[in-house]
Amino acid sequence: MSRIHRAGWSSVALPLAVLSLSLVLLAGVLHLAGYDAERALVALWRGSFGSTHAFASATLVRATPLLLAGLGVALAFRAGIWNIGAEGQLLAGAAAATGVSVLLADMPRLLLVPMVLAAGVLAGTLWASIAEGLRRRRGVLEVISTIMLNFVALHLVGVLVHGPLQEPLGIYPQSAPIVDAARLPRIVPGTRLHAGFAIALLVAPALWWWLRSTAAGFRLRAVGANPDAATIAGRIDAARVAGLAFLVGGGLAGLAGAVEVSGVTFALYESLSPGYGYTAIVVALLGRLDPLAIVPSAILFGALESGALAMQRDAGIPSVVVTAIEAVLVLAVVLADRWAASRRLPNDSGGGPPDAAREAPKVTPSPTPSIA
């Protein structure tokens, strides 16, 4: 994982270069497909950065869950945990936040909003802890368990909004609107931008500082760089540290879900998340797993997805095209990383061990599978 994380100028310049390239590519493909590429790009701009309203009400609102969940994904990835489950953790957080809003509807705002958000964090953590327990105790790959848990969470939300949490009339598959006191305040008058964005903006530097300057943060980075070395040379309980990162990451994704309910949707329903948890992976990767760089990365994807919706409205281009752009972005970043690594390798004059050393082949012969 450490190969992806490289601090420095490249964490800003490279994504920008890759993004420009993707936009050029997009324009070319749209042109070939017979769309009006210029009109499409204008719509993309208008819907994302083109006006204060678009920027605050669309881009930043959409960037908020991406930022929180992206930070959660990055934290786990930094510790060498493949948490693909941000989507499920986010939904768990959203469900819990809705549940608390309904149960404690009579509480004053000053108490209720924090409790709603805390419920989201807790639920996200619990949801991640299932995968973490399976990983630690039973050796189940977290890639697989988290994906399964995403589906379980999605259908559980379905059960909730068709049953216990369904609105009183029992017609629509969604919860009743949460009470005013459970809603996050708006922070820019006249727009939909809510306090959740400010919270996310505070979490990012806090996480950055924690990773950089605390002993626990150091342990996490050591485990992510090389768990064996961290265990032997640093006497670090690598499995424990990685597990903790996984759980905290799940909590952040859960917070993203709670913030979405409390700041945007004001209700729970099955299609609450248009795949925020999956986009969060891309956000984290493009931010090179660096909490500070994930902020512009999340805003960028918030803009891209908001712009795509405008593009669909104004130029008739399917908004799902941004999913392909996201994929191209990831592949380009990965490729650039490998390229940079291969260039650094021959004359590595001390910025840490060369990649080949980290990837040294294991000398112990592995046992043949029991079935074979």
Binding site: R137, V140, H155, V334, P365
Partner: protein
């Protein structure tokens, strides 16, 4: 009751078929030490390919589906094997890529709904004598050709993996690539072959969704089957027979919803939708998976 049971069995086999095809392909891929979570995207590409190719008949649909699957797998191979980039990240990107491209092309070519778009499904081919076996005959032997292909693949892959030199070399690459290299095994070539083979079966899996089940295409119609197939590989302990059985088990878990509906049970259907995933988690937890995993799985 008996009629319901018969229907349950039939639905189980039908549901299991695309899962088995994809999971058997992924078994070979993972045996070579590669984990391709782009399988989800491969199935989706296969389904879309089948839709496009079906204008030239069922065979055209299958061919186009397989081709689309192989092409998608080739993208994965270029980055994960060619550039030795991280397999999980590349797999995630490949799934996103397939989702984006199939969705965009579908909406561009067929409109937002594509409601008018139905293609004839391939009819079940009852096998004489076998399909007359009481109770299980029709469920097992009156299925579309895709199902029989899955039946045949189980022994064929077993034979390939455990009785041929190439199968041995492939497993060696998955267990100890360094050691395999020192005895002259062409590690990269074998891995490439495995990934493309996985793409072929993933594409066939997607084609079966369109041609043997729904008779149309829908955006994101793979609906997590690629991920489930990867879990099935783990449940089946990377062995063709185990994987085949795990796919059937998963098919039963999915088909239970029809069964309970037929029995008149009043439960929210979302509970049945989540049952297969929850069951997978429980089974993964009960069976220790990692012991049987290829030792070099996921390493560049």
């Amino acid at each position: 009751m008996i009629a319901n049971l018969d229907a349950l069995l039939e639905a189980s086999v039908r549901t299991a078929t695309p899962l088995a095809l994809a999971a058997l392909g992924e078994t070979v891929v993972e045996r070579a030490g590669v984990i391709n979570i782009g399988l989800e995207g491969i199935i989706l590409a296969g389904a879309f390919g089948a839709l496009v190719g079906a204008s030239a008949g069922a065979v055209g649909g299958i061919a186009a589906g397989v081709l689309a699957g192989v092409a998608t797998a080739a993208v994965f191979a270029a980055f994960a094997l060619g550039a030795r980039a991280d397999q999980i990240i590349v797999g995630t990107a490949v799934t996103l890529l397939a989702t984006g491209i199939t969705g965009t092309v579908y909406r561009t070519a067929y409109g937002a709904t594509g409601a008018a778009l139905t293609i004839p499904t391939v009819a079940p081919l009852p096998i004489p004598v076998l399909s007359d076996i009481p109770l299980v005959g029709r469920a097992l032997f009156a299925q579309p050709a895709f199902t029989y292909a899955a039946y045949l693949l189980v022994p064929a892959l077993w034979w390939f993996l455990y009785r041929t030199h190439m199968g041995l070399a492939l497993r060696a690459v998955g267990e100890a690539p360094e050691a395999a290299r020192t005895v002259g095994i062409r590690e990269r070539r074998l891995r490439l072959g495995a990934v493309l083979f996985g793409g072929m079966l993933g594409g066939a899996s997607g084609a079966s969704l369109v041609l043997a089940q729904s008779g149309t295409f829908a955006e994101g119609m793979s609906a997590g089957r690629g991920f489930i197939a990867i879990a099935i590989v783990v449940l089946g302990r990377w062995h063709p027979v185990g994987v085949g059985l795990a796919a059937v088990l998963f098919g039963v878990a999915s088909a239970l919803q029809f069964f309970f509906q037929a029995m008149g049970w009043q439960l929210p259907y979302q509970l049945f939708l989540l049952l297969p995933y929850a069951l997978t988690l429980v089974l993964l937890g009960v069976r220790r998976g990692r012991g049987a995993a290829p030792a070099a799985l996921g390493q560049a």
